[in-house]
C-alpha cells in the first residue's frame, strides 16, 4: 500500500525469489530464463550446453541436407581458377572433405594452429555443391537441370555478386565460432584451386531460444517453412534424392537452389496485420492457416467467407506455392540475413536506407526443372509477397552423395 512505484518491483522480486527457493532450483532457472528475475545470481546455466554435439560427416548423404538446420549458416561460393583441371578438382575436393570431416567432428584440421576452436562443433555440418562447370572440369556429365534458373523478369533483380559460383559450400550449425573456423580452413585450402566469389551469412533464432523443431520466423515476422518436408516425413526421400534418372555420380545426392531474397521492411511497415496475413494466407501470431486450426493444419483454399470470397486470397503465398504431389515438393532451408546498409543505399522514397535484410532461400530437390522451376514460375506470375520481396541472387548446384571415412564428397565424379 505504502509502496512507492520504485519499491514495488524490488519487493515483487523478493517475493518471487522466496517462492522460487521454496519450489526448488528448477523453478529459479525457469523464472530466470523467462526474464522474471533480472539480475539474479551469477550461477552458470549449463542445462542447454550443446557445444559438443556432433553430426556425423560420413555417410550415404551429405549431413547438411538431412540434419536439422543449425542456428547459423554461411554459404560460400568459389570460382575455379583456369588451371584447375580434373586432377586439381580431385585434390581440392579431397582437401575440403578432409577439413570438414575433422572440424565437424570436433578435431582440428591438418595444419590447423587453432585446434582449440574445433572442440565445440555444436552440430556443425558442411555440404558441398557443384555447378555444371565444376562437373565438367571433373570430366563428368551434368544433368540437364544443372544450369542457372530461367529468368523471372517480373521479379528478378539479380546481381552477379550474389549469384552463381562453380562450387558452393553450406556450413550450418549452432555455433558461429566453429563455422568461422571451418570456413577459414576451407578457404585457405582453396587458394591454389579457386577464388571466393561471394559469401552469404544467415541466422535463425539462437540455439535454446525455441524448443527444438520450432518453425523459423523470417524478418517479416512470418512463421516460415511450415509445410517443408522433414527427413522423417513420407515424401522427403522421393522429393530430395536423385535416383536412376540422374548421372551415376549424383545418385543418392540432390540439388541446391539458393535465392537471395531482399525484403523491404520499409514498405512492409506500411501494411497492417490484415494485409500481412492476407499476403501469406497464415496468421502472423502462430502461423496457422487463415482458415483456422493450428500451424500444421492444412490450408483450406476452398473455404469461403460470408460474402462468398475465399478466405485465403488466391494470390496469397500459400495458395501460389502449394504443391499437391509430395514427391514434387521442394525441401526448404531458410536463413535470415541482416547485413549492414551499403554505402549510398536509398529506400523506395529516396531516403538513406535503414535496413538491408532478407532471406537466404535454399531448397533441396531431386530435379530443379521438375520441382523448383514450375513452383517459381507460379510465384513469379502472382504472389502477393512479391510486393515486398526482390530476388537479388540466384544459383543452382548439384549436391553429390556423402562419402565414407577415407573418401571425399565428389569422389563419385572420378569413379
Amino acid at each position: 500500500m505504502g509502496d512507492t512505484p520504485r519499491r514495488g518491483p524490488s519487493r515483487r522480486q523478493l517475493l518471487l525469489g522466496g517462492a522460487a527457493v521454496g519450489a526448488g532450483a528448477a523453478a529459479t532457472l525457469g523464472a530466470e530464463r523467462a526474464g522474471l528475475l533480472p539480475g539474479t545470481g551469477p550461477a552458470a546455466d549449463t542445462t542447454g550446453v550443446n557445444g559438443e554435439r556432433i553430426v556425423p560427416f560420413h555417410g550415404a548423404r551429405q549431413a547438411g541436407v538431412t540434419s536439422t538446420p543449425g542456428a547459423y549458416a554461411t554459404y560460400v561460393a568459389f570460382d575455379l581458377l583456369e588451371s584447375t583441371d580434373r586432377d586439381g578438382m580431385r585434390a581440392w575436393l579431397s582437401l575440403l572433405s578432409d577439413d570438414a570431416a575433422r572440424l565437424t567432428q570436433g578435431r582440428g584440421a591438418l595444419a590447423d594452429l587453432e585446434p582449440e576452436l574445433a572442440v565445440r562443433p555444436a552440430g556443425l555440418t558442411a555440404t558441398f555443391g557443384l555447378s555444371r562447370e565444376a562437373v565438367h572440369r571433373a570430366g563428368a556429365a551434368a544433368p540437364d537441370w544443372l544450369r542457372p534458373l530461367p529468368a523471372f523478369p517480373k521479379i528478378d533483380a539479380l546481381e552477379d555478386r550474389w549469384s552463381g559460383g562453380d562450387v558452393v559450400v553450406l556450413l550450418h550449425g549452432d555455433d558461429p565460432t566453429s563455422i568461422s573456423h571451418l570456413l577459414r580452413m576451407l578457404v585457405r585450402d582453396s587458394r591454389s584451386f579457386a577464388t571466393v566469389r561471394w559469401r552469404q551469412d544467415g541466422f535463425r533464432r539462437a540455439y535454446g531460444s525455441d524448443p527444438h523443431g520450432t518453425t523459423m520466423r523470417n524478418l517479416f515476422g512470418q512463421v516460415d517453412g511450415t509445410t517443408t518436408p522433414r527427413p522423417e516425413d513420407a515424401g522427403f526421400d522421393a522429393a530430395v534424392w536423385a535416383g536412376p534418372e540422374a548421372p551415376a555420380w549424383l545418385r543418392g545426392g540432390t540439388s541446391l537452389v539458393l535465392r537471395r531474397i531482399a525484403m523491404n521492411l520499409e514498405t512492409w511497415d506500411e501494411v497492417g496485420v490484415d494485409g500481412r496475413e492476407n499476403a501469406i494466407g497464415r496468421r502472423l501470431s502462430d502461423g496457422a492457416p487463415l482458415t483456422g486450426g493450428t500451424e500444421h493444419d492444412d490450408v483450406d483454399l476452398e473455404a469461403t467467407d460470408a460474402s462468398g470470397f475465399t478466405v485465403v486470397n488466391p494470390a496469397a503465398h500459400v495458395a501460389r506455392a502449394r504443391v499437391e504431389d509430395p514427391s514434387s515438393r521442394i525441401v526448404r532451408i531458410g536463413y535470415n540475413y541482416d547485413d549492414p546498409v551499403e554505402a549510398g543505399a536509398v529506400d523506395t522514397q529516396g531516403r538513406p536506407a535503414v535496413s538491408n535484410v532478407g532471406l537466404l532461400f535454399g531448397s533441396w530437390q531431386r530435379d530443379v526443372d521438375a520441382q523448383y522451376v514450375p513452383m517459381q514460375r507460379r510465384l513469379a506470375e502472382a504472389d502477393l509477397l512479391n510486393t515486398w520481396t526482390t530476388p537479388i541472387g540466384s544459383g543452382v548446384w548439384a549436391i553429390p552423395p556423402g562419402c565414407e571415412e577415407g573418401g571425399f564428397v565428389g569422389e563419385t565424379l572420378f569413379a
Binding site: 580431385r90 585434390a91 581440392w92 579431397s94 582437401l95 578432409d98 582440428g108 591438418l110 595444419a111 594452429l113 585457405r188 585450402d189 587458394r191 591454389s192 584451386f193
Partner: protein, 181 residues
C-alpha cells in the same frame, strides 16, 4: 656459426624404405610398429622454395622411449630431423625421442621433418610418403597430405642468414637431387 651436420637421410635408407613400404598408404604403418603417426601433413612448396617441412603427431604405443633417428622419402631425397629452439632451427643429431606411452608433436615452431631438396614441387593435396627410421633399426611409414600453409618458415625468417645460405649451398651441392620418378 653452428656446424650443420650432413644429411641423416642416406640413399641406402631411402632405397630400403621405398622397397619396404611400396603400396603402404595409411597414416600409420609398419609391422610391430612402436610408433604411429597421426594427422601427418607436409607444407606445399615450389621447387625454387628449396625446402619444406612435414608435421604430425608421433604416438609411442610402447612402455619404452622410442627414438627416431632419421626420416626418408623416396620422393624427396634429403630429409633432416629439426627442432626450432628460441626461434632458430637446429638439426637433431641425436634424433627425436618419443616418451614411453606418450606423444611428440611435430608442428610449426617445434619439432619437424625438414625437406631439404625439392626435385619436384609439393602441390596441395599431394600425398607424400615418408619413412621414419627408429634407433632399433625398424621403420615406420606414413603418408602426409600436402597443405598450403603460410607459417612454418622459421628457417627463412628466424635463423641467421648464414645458416640459410649454408642450407642452400648444401642442397645445391647434393649429388642425388634428381626427380625420383
Amino acid at each position: 656459426m653452428s656446424i650443420r651436420p650432413r644429411f641423416l637421410a642416406t640413399a641406402a635408407v631411402a632405397l630400403a624404405a621405398a622397397t619396404a613400404l611400396a603400396g603402404c598408404a595409411s597414416d600409420t604403418a609398419s609391422s610391430e610398429a612402436a610408433l604411429t603417426v597421426t594427422d601427418p601433413w607436409v607444407k606445399t612448396a615450389a621447387t625454387e622454395d628449396m625446402m619444406s617441412a612435414a608435421f604430425g603427431t608421433l604416438v609411442n604405443t610402447t612402455d619404452e622411449d622410442v627414438t627416431v633417428v632419421a626420416a626418408t622419402s623416396d620422393q624427396y631425397p634429403a630429409l633432416e630431423l629439426h627442432e626450432v629452439v628460441d626461434g632458430a632451427m637446429q638439426e637433431l643429431g641425436d634424433g627425436m625421442v618419443v616418451p614411453a606411452g606418450g606423444e611428440l608433436a611435430l608442428e610449426p615452431g617445434g619439432f619437424h621433418i625438414m625437406v631439404m631438396e625439392l626435385p619436384e614441387a609439393i602441390e596441395p593435396g599431394d600425398e607424400v610418403d615418408f619413412t621414419l627410421e627408429l634407433a632399433d633399426g625398424s621403420t615406420v611409414g606414413f603418408t602426409a597430405t600436402a597443405k598450403d600453409f603460410d607459417g612454418g618458415n622459421e628457417e627463412y625468417h628466424d635463423s641467421g642468414s648464414d645458416d640459410m645460405e649454408m642450407e642452400m649451398d648444401m642442397s645445391s651441392d647434393a649429388p642425388e637431387a634428381e626427380p625420383s620418378h
